[in-house]
């Protein structure tokens, strides 16, 4: 309990606003609450310290000390590992606090990497970066459950994403192991959701997990790149609908990574494919069956979440963002008619989504969403200026109209809110 609050409580007792008994209760309440916070701070600094020491060790070992004999170097390869394992064992069996567990887990995480790296170095083992990362990740995976370490879990997600990128983007292969490793984290995430639904750390997982999937998905695209856009729109649709699950209903927007990534992703991807060149340069013969299967599975997952929301009666009021991926899938196949058809329909879809965002913003009284909708429409119009032959006058008038729309919409909502406030005060 901070000293200012303590003084205030004493003043309240002196002024006979609260009884000494109540004052004691207040002090006890804050004291018990404060018990956990220094511990958490220790954990954060411990993890940061371990992270730096671990990374430093890897760099020091990467110097390749060739003055030492092979035996000496081999012993050095195991020293960080033994130290890390000792502290992990100590914090595990002595039932140490969070700070101990998180710090030792983080240290061991990097000690393992340093150890395998050094052995590879000593014996000139030419193993590729993906196989090195895979071995490292598999060896650290148990830390998440044994120590219930959040730091290890976050590092794990970052490393499996790096692995997927390495395999998919740099080596032109499909990172199937990524999916299995992603499954490994699911029980941990589920437990977080059940036990600590409002914790900050759980919120970090709501961001880092969809972000990881988002980055890794591109690594699976094997054929023509344009189906990748359909894949991504479907993924963003899935994210958006996950963000609409009852679990997130009482959560703030900044906690809901699924909804934010889903919405921003849908709009960004659709804006890219709203250009005519995209549909013109499409070659269907290059689409691989793997890409089609992944797209199909994402579509099925998105629809499953929609059906679930329908059964839970969470689909009303109608929200176009939730169906965007289904509509775009339909649009995608109209490209067999001519490139103009999907282009026009995509533009209409983005425009519709912009209007819907404005509507959601005005009905919820949220300026941020209202302006987000207006921004979508502005960017859409700006994009169209690049591939259409509209005269400068009409372009100018369009901008003026949208600018006026910005002022008008914000002003109207401001008035509406003022009116509500005054009626509430009365």
């Amino acid at each position: 309990m901070n000293s200012k609050l303590r003084q205030e409580v004493s003043k309240l007792v002196e002024a006979q606003v609260i009884s000494p008994q109540v004052a004691d209760d207040i002090r006890n309440y804050y004291d018990s609450k404060n018990d956990t916070s220094p511990n958490r701070l220790f954990a954060i600094f411990g993890v940061l310290g371990s992270l730096l020491v671990g990374l430093g060790l890897i760099l020091i070992l990467a110097h390749n000390w060739d003055d030492f004999s092979r035996t000496t170097k081999t012993i050095w390869a195991f020293i960080p590992l033994v130290v890390g394992q000792f502290f992990v064992g100590y914090s595990l069996f002595k039932k140490k606090g969070v700070a101990w567990k998180e710090t030792s887990a983080t240290f061991l995480f990097f000690a393992i990497g340093a150890s395998i790296a050094l052995v590879s170095q000593i014996y000139n083992i030419p193993g590729s970066m993906p196989s090195f990362l895979l071995t490292w990740i598999v060896l650290v995976a148990p830390l998440i459950y044994l120590l219930k370490s959040q730091a290890a879990a976050l590092l794990y997600v970052i490393f499996i994403t790096a692995y997927a990128c390495n395999v998919g983007y740099f080596n032109n292969d499909s990172p199937w192991w990524y999916l299995i490793m992603l499954l490994w984290i699911v029980p941990h995430y589920y437990k977080q959701l059940k036990k600590f639904p409002s914790e900050n750390l759980t919120s970090i997982f709501h961001w880092i997990l969809p972000a990881s999937v988002l980055i890794a998905l591109g690594a699976f695209v094997s054929g023509d790149d344009s189906i990748g856009f359909l894949m991504y729109v479907t993924l963003f649709g899935l994210f958006y609908n996950v963000g609409k699950l009852p679990f997130f209903a009482d959560k703030k927007l900044r906690v809901n990574g699924y909804l934010v990534l889903g919405s921003l992703g849908t709009i960004t991807t659709l804006l890219i494919v709203s250009f005519k060149w995209f549909w013109g340069e499409f070659n269907t013969s290059l689409v691989s069956s793997q890409d089609l299967i992944i797209t199909g599975m994402l579509l099925a997952a998105g629809m499953t979440v929609l059906v679930y929301l329908f059964l839970k009666k969470e689909l009303s009021p109608f929200n176009l963002f939730q169906y965007g991926f289904l509509i775009f899938t339909g649009i995608y196949f109209t490209r067999f008619i001519s490139p103009e058809v999907p282009m026009i329909l995509t533009n209409l879809l983005v425009f519709g989504l912009g209007i819907f965002a404005v509507r959601i913003g005005s009905s919820k009284g949220m300026f941020s969403i209202l302006n987000y909708g207006l921004l979508i429409i502005t960017v859409l119009v700006t994009c169209r200026f690049f591939d259409t032959q509209i005269s400068f006058v009409i372009r100018g008038l369009l901008f003026v109209a949208i600018g006026a729309g910005f002022f008008g919409a914000n002003y109207l909502m401001h008035k509406k809110q003022q009116k509500q406030n005054t009626s509430e005060n009365e």
């Binding site: 390749n64 390869a77 150890s115 790296a117 052995v119 590879s120 014996y123 030419p126």
Partner: protein
């Protein structure tokens, strides 16, 4: 989670974390102590690895052999059989897709395309880790020596046993590359 499961899990984790590097060391040491040594003529270049440090990449002169009768796909493993030539360097005699019943030493190489009756391949032991201050100098020293024609031989000493081949060191004019760089400074 009950205590037995945690203890068991912890022990398994510790053992696995020892087993993987331990196994790597054991396999390499076995080849180094029991394998046959060959000299592979090479040229080094200098790249970088974020975790494992600086290394020199080795371009071996021995990179082709007469195409085997079977069709070989790109990036497929091929068995390249080797022997020592009159100058003491490794030379490829023939290659096959499947392992043959013979005592001759072989390298499991990656096929890198075929041209007429020749099969090109990449040898697996093409990385030699070095002190970070020496890797680039080594590449430069070799380049200068090659240009001036004073470099008679630069080779990787590789021990071969069964499927495994371990690059033990790189020599320039019979001097280990790390010492060679020191003498040139």
């Amino acid at each position: 989670m009950n205590k037995l499961l945690i203890t068991g899990g912890f022990i398994v984790m510790i053992l696995a974390q020892w087993f993987i590097p331990g196994q790597m060391i054991y396999q390499q040491e076995q080849v180094l102590s029991e394998g046959t040594s060959y000299k592979f003529k090479t040229r080094p270049i200098d790249p970088n690895d974020p975790f494992r440090g600086k290394f020199i990449m080795l371009n071996y002169e021995m990179n082709k052999v007469k195409k085997p009768a079977e069709e070989v796909d790109y990036d497929q493993d091929v068995y390249v059989y080797i022997t020592t030539d009159k100058d003491g360097f490794a030379t490829a005699t023939h290659a096959s897709k499947t392992l043959r019943d013979t005592d001759q030493d072989y390298i499991v190489a990656k096929a890198n395309g075929t041209y007429q009756d020749t099969l090109n391949f990449d040898l697996p032991f093409n990385i030699h880790y070095m002190d970070e201050n020496k890797a680039y100098d080594a590449e430069v020293a070799v380049r200068i020596a090659t240009r001036e024609g004073i470099l008679t031989n630069c080779y990787g000493l590789v021990y071969v046993k069964g499927d495994r081949a371990v690059l033990s060191d790189v020599f320039i004019d019979e001097v280990s590359i790390k010492d060679y760089v020191d003498t040139k400074e």
